[in-house]
């Protein structure tokens, strides 16, 4: 009896001392192991599937085909390369529009004014809205017959457009939807950057006679460089991976002519509609390498610029 009472505090103390000594990994490891397991095992499996002709079910017998899938995919000018192009068009176009609009709106919001709170709430709404619901909402607005978009065009005398159902107009329309939903995020990030700037450089330039545009271009923008890069990285990664609004509005294969089929939509279709796991895994590995390469380039350039 006395022994247990004597032992327990010591045991606890030993354990506590051990835990405190190793708290760095005791704290960090569980999260890292969780993410690591959920990434490493599947990614290795995907890499393995990409060199097999696995189809139908991953448990069905499949044979090793080496780099045949990679040769097939990289030589595929019918689906793969157009999907790569669309991924870049979508990301580049939407991101550019979001940055320009985002900077404009952030500058409008910069100095305090009455009713500021309400404007901020208004721009927060698209940002938190569920992307699938947003897709459905725009699907109705852009409906060629009953949509509000064409109704407005009719009022101002412009012929109605096919919007989402047109082969050439679908992707730009979806880029517009992306801009609508995500410009607010760029606004918030840039506004946080603007608010943290000191007023002195701007004031000094004003005293030296610089006009508003000069002060923005030569003083504010250079000071905002880090914030702009953060905004590009955060938004760019998500834009490359856009899936919800594309799949919710155009469905499998990105429409009947694959007009909005980006890499993510293409890979999803190959995986879950055609069960062609070999090809799908190849596309995914290439997509993954592409994202890593872009990430590396952006971080490398940032470091290069700073030194």
């Amino acid at each position: 009896m006395t022994a247990t009472v004597a032992i327990r505090p010591t045991a606890w103390k030993t354990y506590s001392a051990w835990a405190n000594r190793h708290r760095k990994w005791l704290f960090a490891a569980p999260a890292m192991i969780f993410v690591g397991l959920l990434i490493a095992v599947p990614l290795a499996w995907t890499a393995y599937l990409s060199v097999t002709d696995s189809q139908g079910s991953v448990r069905a017998p499949s044979s090793f085909v080496g780099i045949a899938n990679y040769l097939k995919v990289l030589g595929d000018t019918d689906r793969y390369w157009p999907a790569v192009l669309r991924t870049f068009t979508f990301t580049g176009g939407a991101l550019a529009a979001e940055l320009v609009l985002g900077m404009g709106i952030a500058l409008l919001l910069w100095r305090p004014f009455r009713g500021e709170k309400w404007v901020r709430v208004a721009i927060l709404l698209p940002l938190v809205a569920t992307p699938v619901a947003v897709g459905m909402m725009w699907r109705l607005i852009f409906d060629p017959n009953i949509g509000f978009a064409n109704q407005v065009l009719r009022w101002i005398g412009i012929p109605p457009q096919p919007w989402l159902s047109g082969q050439a107009t679908a992707l730009p329309t979806l880029m517009f939807v992306d801009v609508w939903q995500w410009t607010p995020m760029i606004v918030l990030i840039l506004l946080a950057g603007l608010t943290s700037l000191s007023e002195e450089p701007d004031e000094a330039a004003r005293i030296d006679g610089a006009n508003a545009w000069q002060r923005f271009w030569f003083v504010t923008l250079p000071l905002m460089r880090t914030t702009v890069v953060v905004a590009i990285v955060l938004r760019g990664i998500d834009a490359l991976k856009t899936f919800d609004i594309l799949y919710a509005t155009k469905g499998t294969g990105g429409g009947s002519f694959h007009e909005v089929e980006t890499l993510n939509v293409y890979a999803y279709g190959l995986s879950f509609d055609y069960n062609d796991y070999g090809t799908a895994s190849t596309v995914l590995i290439l997509f993954f390498l592409l994202i890593i390469a872009i990430m590396w380039m952006v971080t490398y350039r940032r470091k290069g610029n700073r030194s």
């Binding site: 690591g36 959920l38 095992v41 404007v119 721009i123 109705l140 009953i146 895994s281």
Partner: protein, 295 residues
């Protein structure tokens, strides 16, 4: 004489002024008006589609097809009654809520201590491991996940949905909390340790309570991201564990679209999140802009 004396100084002072003062006054008037107009336009462009969605959800399908009834229509709740009563929507609402709640709680338990260690010991590489989850395309993990969890008989259950949504929530929480802990002074913890607390004790009793705003930010955002997630639930949920985004998507796989019901379903999924956002605006903004201004 007295007249000239009183007039002259004004003339002298006025001489170099006119150009500048006119310029300044005209600019001073033009910009506020321009600003108000542009801000109004911004608000209208961002809010109008949502208003449109709500209006359509209150119309009968006949009215939706009638351009004459764009703004003038008799509101009806039939679509909501239809969606909520006929399509198990309460189950889907519960599913979305349940998955978002538990994935947020578990992610906080795993993510907050990790973020603390990564901030205090500046573990950049370890942080990158967790943040990889945010960079990697989800599709590239989904096929293996599906078959692994199917073998474990977990596909279609809540467990796998919570796990997959944690994969979204965890990097977000770690990212937000690292920048929160980075900005928190070390002195209080050091003082607590001088006063006899162990380092873990100092974390639990001093840093954790002090980081409540950061925890709220991380928790709210991870709840929203889980609630909005579509792709993981699309593949991994079963008939009884479908979340709202999947339920809405399934709405249109039939031949003709019941627009009124679809819009009311869209309102049902977006409005709760927007209400949360209205009341927690400050936290959401600080979470979305975390790390934006540091070097």
């Amino acid at each position: 004489m007295t007249d000239t004396l009183t007039v002259q100084p004004e003339l002298i002072r006025a001489k170099p002024e006119p150009e500048r003062s006119v310029k300044r006054r005209s600019k001073g008037r033009a910009y506020p008006i321009f600003r108000v107009l542009m801000l109004t336009l911004t608000v209208v462009l961002f809010v109008a589609p949502l208003v449109w969605m709500v209006m359509a959800s209150l119309k009968t399908n006949v009215d939706i097809y009638d351009p004459g009834k764009t703004f003038a229509f008799t509101p009806t709740l039939d679509n909501y009654i239809n969606v909520l009563s006929r399509n198990n929507y309460f189950t889907f609402i519960f599913n979305s809520f349940w998955v978002a709640l538990w994935s947020t709680i578990f992610s906080l338990i795993l993510g907050v201590p990790a973020a603390y260690a990564m901030s205090r010991f500046t573990m950049h590489r370890s942080a990158m491991v967790v943040l990889m989850a945010r960079i990697i395309p989800g599709v590239s993990l989904l096929v293996p996940w599906y078959f692994i969890f199917a073998n474990l008989k977990m596909v279609g259950g809540f467990g796998v949905l919570i796990l997959s949504h944690m994969f979204v929530a965890l990097p977000l929480i770690v990212y937000i909390m690292i920048s929160y802990f980075d900005s928190m002074p070390l002195e209080l913890e050091e003082q607590a340790q001088v006063d006899g607390l162990t380092p873990i004790g100092a974390f639990l009793r001093i840093s954790l309570p002090l980081s409540a705003p950061g925890l709220a930010t991380a928790g709210i955002l991870s709840f929203i991201f889980s609630w909005n997630n579509f792709m993981f639930a699309l593949v991994l949920s079963g008939a009884n564990t479908k979340t709202l985004p999947v339920a809405i998507f399934n709405f249109v796989s039939y031949a003709s679209i019941d627009w009124g019901s679809l819009m009311s379903a869209a309102v049902v999924v977006t409005v709760p999140i927007m209400v949360i956002a209205l009341f927690t605006q400050k936290y959401i903004v600080s979470g979305l802009t975390a790390g934006a201004t540091k070097g």
